[in-house]
Symmetry: none
Subunit: 207 residues, 4 copies
Amino acid sequence: MFILFFTYHCKKNREMVKLQKSIEKRNAILEATLDLINEGGYQMVAMGKVAKIAGVSPATIYLYFENKQDLINQLYLICKEEFSKTAFNNYSEEMSIEEGFKVIWYNIARYKMNGTKEAYFLSQCDNTPMVDNETFQKGLDFIEPMIQLWYRGIEEKKIKSVSPYLIYANTVYPLGFLMNIQKKDTNTFNNSILDDAFKMAWDSIKL
Amino acid sequence: MFILFFTYHCKKNREMVKLQKSIEKRNAILEATLDLINEGGYQMVAMGKVAKIAGVSPATIYLYFENKQDLINQLYLICKEEFSKTAFNNYSEEMSIEEGFKVIWYNIARYKMNGTKEAYFLSQCDNTPMVDNETFQKGLDFIEPMIQLWYRGIEEKKIKSVSPYLIYANTVYPLGFLMNIQKKDTNTFNNSILDDAFKMAWDSIKL
Amino acid sequence: MFILFFTYHCKKNREMVKLQKSIEKRNAILEATLDLINEGGYQMVAMGKVAKIAGVSPATIYLYFENKQDLINQLYLICKEEFSKTAFNNYSEEMSIEEGFKVIWYNIARYKMNGTKEAYFLSQCDNTPMVDNETFQKGLDFIEPMIQLWYRGIEEKKIKSVSPYLIYANTVYPLGFLMNIQKKDTNTFNNSILDDAFKMAWDSIKL
Amino acid sequence: MFILFFTYHCKKNREMVKLQKSIEKRNAILEATLDLINEGGYQMVAMGKVAKIAGVSPATIYLYFENKQDLINQLYLICKEEFSKTAFNNYSEEMSIEEGFKVIWYNIARYKMNGTKEAYFLSQCDNTPMVDNETFQKGLDFIEPMIQLWYRGIEEKKIKSVSPYLIYANTVYPLGFLMNIQKKDTNTFNNSILDDAFKMAWDSIKL
DNA sequence: TATGAATGAGATTTCATTCAT
DNA sequence: TATGAATGAAATCTCATTCAT
């Protein structure tokens, strides 16, 4: 899951072997947290359970994270970063507004609808006070390129001249609802839904 | 807040005065729960705190609600019902699709953007496993008239022929995001935002 | 031990029967704390152990005391008050300086040398940061009559004109050392030691 | 602080350079312990904190000390030894009782009232079960010369024929109280207090 | 010798719920 | 119906100590 992250905020640098070991433990902890959130939401995240699932001692968690809030915050930023990497996959700033928007939107749509724990976790974070405000703000940085695309679209008179918040609310955010429904009852949607959803998203913002 | 609710599930009927008294207590408990959720999310809801804020004994809560989950569930249904009343205010099935949609949408939009605790609570419920599945399904019944309107719109070829879920996701659900932003940072939006948002919502579904 | 205390700082008044019950629990908790301090000092005072010895649930302790520090603080003030009652037993302000000093000193001396847990606890509090500063200051109020006697003694030119701190240090405080020795090795002192100690105390302050 | 101590219990002798290095580490650990005790008493002494302040690994502490109790014990003996060196500075057994007593008493008084961490630590050790009994007894050896002086004083009929414990309690021990007060509230005492205190100490024991 | 990582046991505190009245 | 007291279980977090290197 987080296997790609070889560096993280930690007080001192150590040699590679040690570092590798630590990363594994840290990832196990993050993964366990994600599992629990996925299973029953924030209320399920008990440090003891996290430890047990991760296969470490409760005390070990506190070597990697200051406290529970920090664990959640860091997990949020990691997921958000991973999310943004997925979102901008195959996207280039050279693309036309329509093409760029389409690429990003479908990236996000597939990410959300694939039923990954990360997507569900992020949705919860965005709709509850689970992560603190500062962390939430940091998370916004990751989607900056998308906002830039929108601004360009506005300049080029391709999309409506409205706040990025509005654009997000009407194009990306709706996917969160579909994801929730999907999670509550798989088999609700067939494959064509994404195309419908995309058309609606685009219609809502296009000039 | 919940002052209008004069009936609730209780084991035996009593004379009117008693009932009135009980209603007040029950409402105080529900109100307190809402306050706490509003303040810090589900994690803030501790039965002891609820009792203290409501001005009752913890034990009293269990006279009105089976347990914590039941309290949350019932609160959800109450809010959802109240929400639907607001949503369909001034709406009549005689209205044209466009007019009916507009009336309902603005009702909901004002409800969400007014910063009420209920709106924030409902948004959290819709994005977390706070309420159980059964209750969530019950909540959907309250917006049935809106769904009927959409089906009529589809028949009349006024709106796209897509799942009601999709319509909800692209018209009502986006308001949740705007509400969250508003809550995180008041003064973000000016008054004209609702008109922009409405146009986007309508554009996303209109044929 | 604390059987005489029928009132204590608690948020609301309750009827007598309830109150009686509570007092017993509260006393059991205080007593247990004292036992543990006596056995191994502050490091021995674990809320779980206190609860077990007192025969209550850990959670119950928190009905009577805000937290561990509050428990220690309150115990300190109770012991200090009880100590002062003992100290001024049979003392009257009409007494001559010599007589009054003698009565009080012997009261204290017997209190300290009797090997009670309270005496040992107070000595530890006075020589460590166990109780917070504010509480320590409150504790000083209880020995106010003794200080008044000393001031009178200074006026009457019976005792040296020095700070009450100095008088305390040379008359009462030394008993703490004797108590410590006694606790470490009983049978160190015979009965005549108190008379020797009294003479030394008096010689140190008399004019 | 402890820079003068070039030997300590360690399993094997090594060459001088290594030893020097080790001494520094050991001293850093002892110093850190002292700092923590000074800051918040025994409860503040956590091996992890000691390690961090000393700039070593927690594991390193266990190379120099068997366990926490051993660390405290050894620190006690070191401080006690250092204390005794200060106490007997400029003292010679040739001195008269009065002169010898005065020299020693003022040495101790200045040591206690200078606000050093060591003095505060020793006071806590003498009034709590922080150090074990055996160690406490060893500590007494360091003040043996003072006791010898007292015995000589008794023989020469200069001071009262009482237990050394009593003499200590009435001459040295009172300084601990003054030190505590000083620590709680600096600026309580002016310079003349030592002279007052000395007179009281001497008056209490002189024949 | 020296260490960073790791941990089991345990510390304090909280909480949903029940009991006695 | 209503309650304050009470609690077992569990939550978060800490700590003295050890292990692998």
